[in-house]
């Protein structure tokens, strides 16, 4: 044995205090690149649970799951995406497509655990160390898979528009409509916000596929007024649209109009369901507005014989007499009504219910009655001088315009109010050559009218006078001297909207040829007698969830539309009519409630 064999083990000790060549454990941190695609992060408050991330995921790595403390509400399903990292391939398409931009990725990629089931979590809901990470993958500036810009709608120029009652909105071509329909991600968040719960993603897909007969069939499943609603609907659906979280919402209303405009009335029957065999039951409907005619359509479809009693000389209710033809041309409305009549619905025009044709007699002769008489009676200004002959009622002015009567409003017109009737009256007056002031007691942002209508009224030349509380109307040589008190907005109760308080001494007055009062409408209930057994509370018939007002005595009485609901728009009336029709059918056919 050599001496070296003894020495060698001790020789290595000479290196004992030198810096080692090996790497210490744990290894130094190795952060991901700034735009590395690591574990997901989600701003759960910004996320609306539309599921577009789930739809685009090529590996089905994402599930939408309910989350504690986050229920569904308008425009938010309450669901949030959960990622399964056994499936995720880190392609980041979910981040690229996310309509709200809430879903992103951190640059964290180290996560070690012996339990394979933990690699699945709901970002933004289950806390993780990388939450709020400023680094990681984000959608590049200007890079979007979704189109955030709405296809422009051709409209008449405002200077041109104000000269006539021609329809302002011109409608889309096929190419434009298909391009707009292409923006929809079919998440369905909109359906809950529509009072009629229309099958919106379905009919938008039909536009995309060029299958308009399917589109029309889907529209009529819940709404027999697509021409009218395609023009004047309050489109609450668009407020819920997930594309609207970071861009223009899809123009759902205009797409509905496109479908109805493209299919000829003569072709409707090919696309729409046939009516069922006659049930032998007869239903009376009072009021041929959207609510009444919607009930009529669905009842006729179910085989019932329907007679609609309408006080005016034409059907359509407020759609005809309250909405000017530049927003809803009569031929479009006539198309909707024409199809309903083609199913055998009998509309008795100029046939008010009241004296001589009482509700009680309808209950004798018919098997069920549906009341949808709306809110025809305008509220007065409720100030001294409100009976001045130049103080006109807005609804009456609009109805006179529909009837083609000479309005004689004069050169200077004041419109008092901030709702759609006020805007329509103002724009009707502008089209009759008047200069128009709109006086409203609160601010522009408090106005109940559609923002579009306010914008268009101003663009057409109406002057808006905000915070004007009416005080008095005096006579000024046959004209009306309108006196108002300027107000200031006071926040009286936290959480409630501010209240206008008159500023002492800030009194203004102007002389107008006409003052149009458009501060709201009430119902006309005189045709309902106490003996009918319909309970009236706060000027409304009291109804149950199906719209049933009374089942006692003779034929049951249902009610719906503006007369009953709080939303007071056409689509809510249509939904009421449909709901009541289903309930009446159940009652008449003995299927039980």
């Amino acid at each position: 044995m050599d001496i070296k064999d003894f020495i060698a083990p001790f020789a290595v000790w000479k290196r004992a205090f030198e810096k080692p060549f090996t790497v210490k454990k744990p290894i130094d941190e190795r952060p991901g690149a700034p735009r590395y695609r690591g574990f997901h992060i989600n701003d759960a408050d910004k996320c609306v649970g539309c599921g577009t991330c789930e739809a685009i995921c090529m590996n089905r790595a994402i599930d939408l799951v309910p989350v504690e403390g986050r229920d569904a509400k308008e425009g938010d399903s309450g669901l949030r995406p959960r990622v399964d990292y056994g499936r995720c391939c880190w392609c980041a398409l979910c981040v690229d497509i996310c309509p709200s931009g809430s879903l992103n990725m951190s640059n964290e990629y180290v996560w070690i655990d012996s339990d394979p089931d933990v690699f699945r979590y709901t970002p933004g809901v289950e806390p993780k160390p990388w939450d709020g990470s400023a680094l990681g993958y984000r959608r590049a500036e200007g890079y979007r898979l979704l189109d955030g810009t709405r296809v422009p709608m051709p409209e008449l120029d405002h200077h041109e528009a104000v000269k006539s009652f021609l329809e302002l909105v011109r409608g889309w071509s096929r190419e434009q409509a298909e391009k707009e329909a292409d923006r929809c991600v079919s998440c369905g968040l909109c359906i809950a916000s529509c009072p009629a719960h229309m099958e919106i993603p379905g009919y938008i897909k039909a536009v995309r596929d060029g299958d308009l007969e399917t589109g029309l069939r889907l529209l009529y499943q819940t709404n027999p007024f697509p021409e009218a609603c395609g023009r004047i609907c309050t489109h609450r659906c668009e407020e819920a649209c997930s594309i609207g979280t970071d861009g223009d919402p899809v123009a759902i209303r205009w797409l509905k109009r496109y479908i109805a405009d493209q299919v000829e009335l003569a072709d409707y029957s090919k696309a729409l369901p046939r009516k069922e065999a006659s049930s032998g039951k007869r239903v009376a409907i009072v009021g041929a507005g959207p609510g009444g005619l919607s009930a009529a359509y669905y009842l006729a479809l179910l085989g019932h014989e329907v007679t609609v009693h309408e006080k005016d000389e034409a059907a359509g209710g407020m759609l005809r007499y309250g909405i000017p033809e530049y927003r809803l041309p009569y031929p479009a409305l006539d198309k909707d009504i024409g199809y309903i009549e083609s199913l055998g619905v009998k509309i008795e025009r100029g046939a008010p219910v009241g004296e001589g044709r009482s509700l009680a007699s309808l209950r004798e002769r018919f098997d069920a009655v549906f009341l949808s008489t709306g809110l025809p009676a305008a509220y007065g200004l409720d100030v001294p001088g409100e009976k001045h002959p130049r103080v006109l009622d807005g609804v009456a002015v609009l109805a006179a315009a529909t009837r083609g009567q000479v309005l004689g409003l004069g050169a200077r017109v004041a419109v008092v109010g901030g709702g759609n009737v006020a805007m329509d009256a103002a724009r009707t007056a502008l089209r009759n050559g008047a200069s128009v002031d709109i006086l409203y007691r609160r601010r522009e942002e408090d106005m109940p009218a559609d923002p579009d209508e306010i914008r268009e009224a101003k663009a057409e030349g109406a002057r808006l006078v905000e915070k004007a509380i009416p005080l008095e109307v005096k006579d000024a040589g046959g004209k009306a001297r309108f006196v108002w008190n300027e107000a200031t907005m006071v926040q009286k109760e936290a959480g409630k909207r501010p209240v206008p308080e008159p500023i002492p001494g800030a009194i203004h007055e102007e002389i107008y040829d006409s003052v149009i009062s458009a501060i709201g409408q009430g119902p006309e209930l005189s045709y309902i007698a106490e003996a009918d057994g319909v309970e009236i509370r706060r000027f409304k018939p009291v109804v149950d969830r199906d719209g049933l007002a009374t089942a006692a005595g003779k034929a049951p009485v249902f009610a719906g539309g503006d007369l009953v609901n709080d939303r007071k728009d056409a689509i809510s009336a249509i939904a009421d009519g449909h709901r009541a029709a289903s309930a009446i059918d159940r009652l008449l056919s003995g299927k039980g409630a």
Binding site: G51, N59, D63, L64, L79, I191, A192, H197
Partner: protein, 177 residues
């Protein structure tokens, strides 16, 4: 660089010259001239360095577009040479004798796109996908979901919810759609 464009056009039928940046241009040749074009660029035009080689699946046109980036370090200029090869029969001349590292890029393209380079060393060996038996996964008609479903087991307990159905259940359950 226009001299080079003209020279390449005359010699190899190169076309569609684009100056992408001051130091980067691109041109297109037929795949049959690809090897000769690159050889001439390397030996006679100073483009001695192969920076990069890859492919893009242009499935709409039925071709794979190969891209070779070569660099002239003296002039500080890079040139991308593109060539479309038939997607149905993707066979391309190997460049491993021009640049030693070329076979690595070619092995990658074979595995990811199924583009063959006959004679290229180890071209049929696995590159990064160990034990891969599916079709080339960078081809755009590769259905990753179908592949995952067929290859891997689903994780038990996964359940998803449709937003519209969920909202109906929570917000308007009375509408029995």
């Amino acid at each position: 660089m226009n001299e080079l464009a003209k020279e390449l056009a005359a010699r190899y039928g190169a076309r569609d010259w684009h100056d992408r940046r001051g130091d980067l241009s691109s041109t297109v040749v037929d795949p049959i001239r690809l090897h000769d074009t690159l050889a001439w660029l390397k030996d006679s035009a100073g483009y001695a360095h192969l920076s990069f080689a890859t492919a893009v699946d242009n499935i709409e046109r039925g071709v794979f577009t190969l891209t070779y980036t070569v660099r002239n370090h003296e002039q500080g200029h890079s040139l991308m040479v593109h060539a479309d090869v038939d997607r149905a029969n993707p066979v391309v001349d190997s460049i491993h004798l021009l640049w030693g590292q070329g076979w690595t890029y070619q092995r990658e393209m074979k595995e990811w796109f199924g583009i063959d380079f006959p004679g290229s060393p180890r071209v049929d060996e696995e590159f990064v996908l160990e034990g891969w038996e599916g079709p080339p996964m960078m081809r755009r008609d590769f259905d990753s979901l179908a592949y995952s479903d067929a290859t891997y087991e689903g994780r038990p307990g996964r359940v998803t919810h449709d937003p519209a159905t969920r909202m109906q259940e929570r917000l308007y359950p009375e509408a029995g759609k």
